[in-house]
């Protein structure tokens, strides 16, 4: 099985080297692709030195555009499995092996690493937690599947989903939106418990005001998403 780990990165020079090294340690059989989303710092150079393949986007596209670039690369190079790992150190590469298992034995098409299935050490602000609970409720209701962590970017997908994402991937804040779309097209989504850490360095791109705007936008996108036909 050809496995690609996609790391979307915007100004993550403080953490990118560690992330890459940990992935090489825990998943030596996987190829690593860093999608440098128009970083203004040394993310690209540090990633190349650490031994990852790097794609430098001419300007910042956001997480949606950056991840889709990764999926396009995965499709063009015939990968069977693509795993998203964030460049800030929140995702623990030790879990990659577990995440891809349901895909290897074909019991799921998409596997989401969830912070909230079992008690974990992950802590976030009350605000964020409320937002996440809201989204879990919304998505679970609309898809008839119980989702605990809808905003986690720590995901593994199979070849069919790689193909789908290459052509259809939301530009803004895709994690939640995409679950609805996948369900609509009858892809099987599994959720597995993982540990996540606080961002290890650098700055988050989500502020409080943006969180509210984000919630509104994503909720709207989700609701409209359920109205979409399964042919896009």
């Amino acid at each position: 099985m050809k496995i690609l780990v996609i790391i979307p990165a915007y100004n993550e020079e403080a953490t990118i080297k560690n992330v890459i090294q940990r992935i090489k340690l825990k998943m030596p059989q996987a190829d690593i692709l860093v999608v440098n989303d128009g970083s203004k710092d040394n993310t690209s150079r540090k990633a190349k030195t650490a031994g990852a393949k790097v794609i430098d986007l001419p300007y910042n596209l956001g997480i949606g555009g950056a991840m889709q670039t990764g999926y396009l690369y995965a499709k063009e190079n015939g990968y069977d499995i693509a795993v998203q790992v964030d460049g800030d150190g929140q995702h623990d590469p030790s879990y990659i092996k577990e995440l891809i298992e349901p895909i290897i034995n074909n019991s799921a098409d998409v596997v989401v690493g969830s912070r909230y299935i079992s008690k974990t050490n992950y802590k976030s602000s009350v605000f964020r937690r409320m937002g996440m609970i809201f989204f879990s409720f919304l998505v679970s209701t609309l898809t008839n599947q119980k989702f605990k962590d809808t905003t986690s970017g720590f995901r593994a997908v199979n070849k069919e989903v790689i193909n789908y994402f290459s052509n259809h991937y939301p530009v803004d804040y895709p994690e939640v939106d995409v679950l609805i779309r996948l369900k609509k097209r009858n892809f099987r989504i599994a959720e597995l418990p993982v540990e996540m850490y606080k961002r290890q360095g650098g700055k988050s791109s989500i502020t409080t005001f943006r969180s509210l705007y984000y919630m509104l936008k994503v909720s709207l996108a989700i609701i409209i998403g359920t109205l979409r036909s399964s042919e896009e």
Binding site: P58, K217, L220, A221, L227
Partner: protein, 116 residues
Amino acid sequence: MVINVYSLSIMFSVFFLLLVIELVRKNKLQERYCLLWILMSIILLVLSSTPVIIETVSAWLDIKNPPSLLFLFGLGYLILYNLATTVTVSKQSERITRLTQEIALLRQKITDMNSK
């Protein structure tokens, strides 16, 4: 049913809202751009279905014909929205310039590689 500015306004805002949602559904309009249109439809719908708001504010502003305020709102919104659109166009212009440059540089690289 009474046909007046308010009821026409209500019908228009409902129609507009459905149109916008349909465009997003068909992937002709991106979610990020539909939010402001949906906001406008909702405000228009609220203003037209509770004429009391328009009438009160018109009294404050000494506007003799309350429905003029509806038009003022619509016009003002369009002007602002147009401005926002030109901001978007500016950003896209910049990106297109950049892409053009990248393509030209790539072509050059390929020519160099072929002649080696």
